[in-house]
């Protein structure tokens, strides 16, 4: 133990190594139903070089590493050790915003940079970053993008890793490479910048697109040490509109139309129960839920660059026409929710406690990708299962986020519960498990198979699973990177 501590301290400094059970407790479990396993140590490297040395040490000692970049709470089990004796690689110290380039609308950041940190810095330059739905302030930007968390503005979601472009990675075998356009330049961002290179193109180098390989990998292939992200201009005009309906099916036609036309900034569908949790404080959820429609299509409008007001006007008219063509009405407000609340929720970070936890103390979420026209069926299945278990179906939140410019939809079914009530905990866990199993069998695509979903998903595709294991063997031959996750 002392030898290990000394070895790690020799790399990152004594003050950045921890084996104190109390401080390790935060890493030993999360809000998922993954079995808690305490790590052995936690280290907080401060540089790419230190990360690389930690990985090399782990290979020499065959020690499992679990990378983590966001602060608590965690939800998916991917940062809970899947094997005993693991060392957490806490990247929160690597929190430099290395560059913001207004002209090219690119930012280069380290993995510890959070949404709460980056957004105000970008705003000073007149820039913004497309983000997930009301992220917690301490959520790592790189972590979120590598997880392929859905982002709110589908028309900017040109491809799945967007707005993630290139990155530096220390692979599980200790090798370092840069990805995308950055992979063609020298191993120094400063040198690349001096040569006018801006890490814009995500593809490459050569026949690889390693950003895509790293995305969704749950830290099983390597550790990203920096990334470039594409920004948007900060809008100078913001408006929000809503289309209410009793059923999801009533809204899908308009949602499809908006995606096809790339109309709107933030575009998503949500159940009233989900919106109430998103918008209300702890004690207002139940009341707001009563006021809100059963289903809402939320559409943001943004005006930026030249003639922003006119842009917003044109979008508003086009959206309104599209709604009318579907027999629906565009509403300027939601009952019970002030416009400021909406804007805060869609453009800012979550207050404490995190909005998903504020209502009942905990949440169990089931999420997958699907075509929108299949979503109604999946929601109905989930509701039936919830009711069969006595879960109050009215509490089930549904969030449908168009991705890849409307080709795919992130479908998230959210079950808030009180974790201090053992019966409620057991019931919710059963609902969560059964819905996952049933929907995977029904054609819901669990593209991010966390926890117990992994076996179910990989058992459906033996060929891809074998290929992934071959790839894993190349980049992490000693299986030191987050063993026990996915199919590894």
């Amino acid at each position: 133990m002392t030898d290990t501590r000394n070895a790690l301290a020799g790399i990152v400094g004594r003050e950045h190594v921890s084996d104190d059970p109390e401080s390790l407790q935060v890493f030993s479990g999360d809000h998922s139903f993954v079995l808690p396993i305490p790590p052995w140590f936690a280290v907080r490297p401060g540089s790419e070089g230190e990360v690389q040395e930690v990985v090399v040490w782990a290979n020499a000692t065959r020690t499992p590493l679990v990378p983590v970049s966001s602060g608590s709470p965690h939800f998916y089990g991917d940062t809970v050790p899947g094997a005993p004796g693991a060392v957490m690689v806490d990247l929160s110290r690597m929190n430099a915003i290395k560059r913001i380039d207004r002209r090219n609308r690119m930012a280069v950041i380290e993995p510890g940079v959070t949404y709460g940190q980056l957004r105000p810095e970008l705003a000073k330059e007149g820039l913004a970053l497309v983000a997930p739905l009301r992220p917690r302030p301490n959520k790592s930007v790189i972590g979120s993008l590598l997880e392929r968390q859905p982002t709110l503005v589908p028309r900017y979601h040109y491809a799945f890793p967007e707005p993630l472009r290139t990155c530096g990675v220390v692979w599980g075998n200790g090798e370092k490479t840069y990805t995308g356009e950055a992979g063609y330049g020298p191993y120094s961002l400063e040198d690349q910048w001096r040569a006018g290179l801006r890490q814009v193109d995500p593809k490459g180098p050569a026949q690889t697109d390693f950003v895509r390989l790293l995305s969704g990998a749950q830290g099983t292939l390597g550790i990203v040490t920096w990334a470039s992200v594409k920004c948007t201009l900060l809008p100078s005009v913001r408006r929000f509109f809503f289309v209410a309906a009793r059923t999801l099916a009533e809204l899908t036609g308009l949602a499809y139309r908006l995606q096809r036309l790339r109309l709107g900034e933030e575009v998503f569908l949500a159940s009233g129960a989900l919106l109430a949790r998103l918008l209300a404080a702890e004690h207002g959820v139940a009341a707001l839920k009563e006021e809100l429609p059963s289903w809402v299509l939320v559409v943001g409008v943004a005006g930026r660059a030249l003639l922003p007001e006119e842009r917003a006007d044109v979008q508003e008219k086009d959206i309104s026409e599209a709604a009318r063509a579907c027999g629906l009405e565009l509403l300027p407000a939601l009952p019970g929710a002030a416009t400021g609340q909406i804007e805060d929720a869609l453009t800012g970070c979550s207050p404490e406690p995190y909005w998903k936890l504020a209502y009942r103390g905990d949440t169990a979420d089931v999420f997958f990708l699907a075509a929108l026209d299949k979503a109604s069926g999946f929601v109905a299945t989930a509701r039936t299962i919830a009711e069969e278990h006595g879960y109050p179906a009215g509490d089930m939140g549904v969030y449908l986020q168009p991705q890849h410019q409307g080709v795919a939809h992130h479908c998230e079914l959210s079950f808030p519960f009180d974790p201090s009530d053992p019966r409620e905990l057991a019931r919710t866990k059963a609902v969560h498990t059964q819905i996952g199993e049933r929907l995977i069998g029904q054609g819901a695509y669990f593209s991010r198979p966390y926890g117990s979903w992994a076996d179910l998903v990989y058992n459906r595709d033996a060929q891809s699973t074998m290929l992934l294991r071959k790839i894993k063997g190349i980049f992490d031959p000693n299986n030191v990177m987050n063993p026990g996750k996915l199919c590894f």
Binding site: F160, Y187, K203, D209, L221
Partner: protein, 558 residues
């Protein structure tokens, strides 16, 4: 090298006797390739001849063929529509050419979810014709409308005039069906889970990340048998009322569109205009196309092309006519730009924004090319990209040099170097002297803009050995020019690679800034292609190559 009769009969058993051939005349037709003369001994037009050609109809047939080739250690080279010498066998090792032309079906167009599922020989014109009927469009790559959509999506580049708005075909690629070199069928993303074609990512890591990068494997890593691509809204007529006289077809401009040739006084202004367009999110088609004829001759050439009373021989005097000289200067630094609106009010607003941008950067709309005839011609040319014969118009052959992709500020840095290089090399009289620069290319290599690359169009006579040698010298010069000014080599290096020995290629890969990627690619190839039936276009660095110490960042190597 010939196939044994037994092996040939086994191939016949898979696809039927009528779909396999080892007739030398047939085989030479496959070996005859564009750009072969630049890389083959004695400027031969022929790449290595395959031992046979086979035309599978199904994925299962492809799999059986690939497995057979593994047993007999025969290399496999798939070919859909082909473009350049990459499509042919790359060595004299026995190679079976898979001609995918029988797999030519559009399997599905899902209008609501913006997805088309296609086989390898579906060409862009075919798919676009079908999608337009539904008010949808596709990204057509710079290779043109007669090229395979699957090939550019999975195996080659994928950029084109429309990539700025629609995404390049790398970004548009959804799920994919792939027969690996070992003969396994891999289905990526949602397809592998049995959930449809709509997503190519995951589950977990996306395996396409090992083979579909800046370019794909160019036929060097198995056979892609089906894929899905993302479609885009087409806010124009579902039926094109094409008019005009052959070959200058014209597409009338719908009220939701504007078609311009935009010009600026300097390359600095070009970059400023680009960034303004980028920030203001304008543009449906963004391309510098007409300059492929050369800046001194382009206006005269395109006006000749649109005048059925004139021929190529008229260009020289037309270029000297009063008015034409002024037009030539007016559009010396120009590009084609098509905007599309969701509605009339939308396109009218875009027009106002564009006018404001042009006023700010000192740019203008070229009036002659905004007149009905040239605007409609521009519209047809760039919405369909059916004029690829123009690439060869001056002397029968062309190569592209430069085209490094980067930010506009970076790209404008190499344009004068590239222009001067062409002028220097064309002075020999062995390359077409079209005057000024012949830089052309897409507004963006990926959706949303922010990165571009311009290609120098260099015309030569492929049937004249001295002209061909001059073209090769120009490519080598372009590499030297780029390097001496701190730019990486451009696309000419990609072409020239095919003339190099393995040792030369490996030395080049080892000298790359980050050679580790080619070590990873070797390991990937070893894992997926144990019998080495793919070719070297999936680039690998052998394990025994020495990498310079300053390019080995791993701690354990230090």
């Amino acid at each position: 090298m010939t196939l044994s009769r037994e092996t040939y009969r086994q191939l016949e058993d898979i696809v039927g006797a009528e779909n396999v051939s080892d007739d030398p005349v047939v085989l030479d037709a496959y070996a005859f390739e564009v750009l072969a003369d630049l890389v083959r001994p004695e400027q031969s037009h022929f790449m290595p001849r395959p031992v046979a050609v086979i035309m599978p109809r199904t994925t299962e047939e492809v799999q059986t063929i690939v497995r057979l080739c593994n047993r007999h250690r025969i290399k496999v080279k798939p070919l859909s529509t082909g473009w350049y010498h990459f499509a042919a066998p790359q060595s004299d090792a026995p190679t079976l050419q898979l001609d995918m032309r029988r797999m030519d079906r559009i399997l599905e167009i899902d209008e609501k979810n913006l997805i088309a599922v296609i086989e390898p020989y579906v060409i862009a014109a075919q798919l676009q014709a079908e999608t337009l009927k539904l008010g949808l469009n596709i990204n057509i790559t710079g290779a043109g409308a007669s090229c395979s959509v699957l090939a550019s999506s999975c195996a080659y580049a994928g950029q084109g005039p429309m990539a700025y708005w629609m995404g390049g075909n790398a970004e548009n690629l959804l799920a994919l069906e792939w027969v690996t070199p070992a003969g396994e069928i891999v289905r990526t993303g949602s397809l592998g889970s049995g959930d449809g074609w709509f997503c190519g990512e995951g589950p977990g890591p996306s395996v396409r990340g090992i083979c579909r990068g800046t370019i794909g494997s160019r036929g060097g890593m198995g056979v892609y048998t089906k894929c899905a691509v993302k479609l885009t809204h087409w806010p124009g007529p579902t039926e094109w009322k094409v008019r005009g006289t052959v070959p200058a077809y014209r597409l009338p401009i719908h009220e939701h569109f504007r078609v311009y040739t935009l010009a600026v006084p300097s390359w600095d202004a070009w970059a400023d205009l680009y960034y303004q367009i980028y920030d203001n999110e304008l543009g449906y088609v963004f391309h510098r196309q007409f300059n492929l004829a050369g800046a001194d001759l382009a206006p005269a050439f395109w006006l000749m092309y649109n005048d059925h009373t004139k021929t190529l021989n008229d260009v020289e005097w037309m270029a000297q006519e009063p008015g034409m000289r002024e037009l030539t200067e007016e559009m010396r630094i120009s590009f084609q730009f098509i905007m599309a609106g969701r509605s009339v009010r939308d396109i009218e607003l875009q027009d106002r924004i564009l006018d404001a941008i042009l006023a700010e950067v000192g740019g203008w709309k070229v009036k002659r090319f905004a007149e009905e005839d040239m605007a409609e011609f521009t519209n047809m040319y760039l919405q369909r990209l059916g004029h690829k014969h123009i690439n060869y118009v001056w002397a029968g052959g062309y190569i592209g040099s430069w085209m490094q992709v980067g930010t506009p500020d970076w790209v404008k840095g190499y344009i004068p170097i590239a222009s001067a290089g062409l002028e220097r090399d064309a002075a020999s009289g062995l390359l077409v002297q079209c005057g000024g620069d012949a830089m052309m290319g897409s507004g963006s290599g990926f959706p949303g803009g922010g990165g571009t690359g311009l290609e120098q169009f260099v015309s030569y006579d492929p049937n004249d050995r001295e002209s061909t040698k001059a073209a090769v010298r120009h490519m080598e010069d372009a590499v030297r020019d780029a390097t001496s000014y701190g730019f990486p080599p451009g696309k000419e290096a990609l072409y020239l690679e095919l003339s190099k020995t393995d040792e030369q290629v490996w030395a080049s890969l080892a000298a790359a800034n980050q050679p580790a990627v080619f070590e990873f690619q070797r390991k990937i190839k070893e894992a997926l292609d144990p019998n080495n039936i793919g070719d070297r276009l999936y680039s690998t660095l052998p394990a025994d190559r020495t990498i310079p110490a300053d390019k080995t960042p791993a701690t354990d190597r230090r």
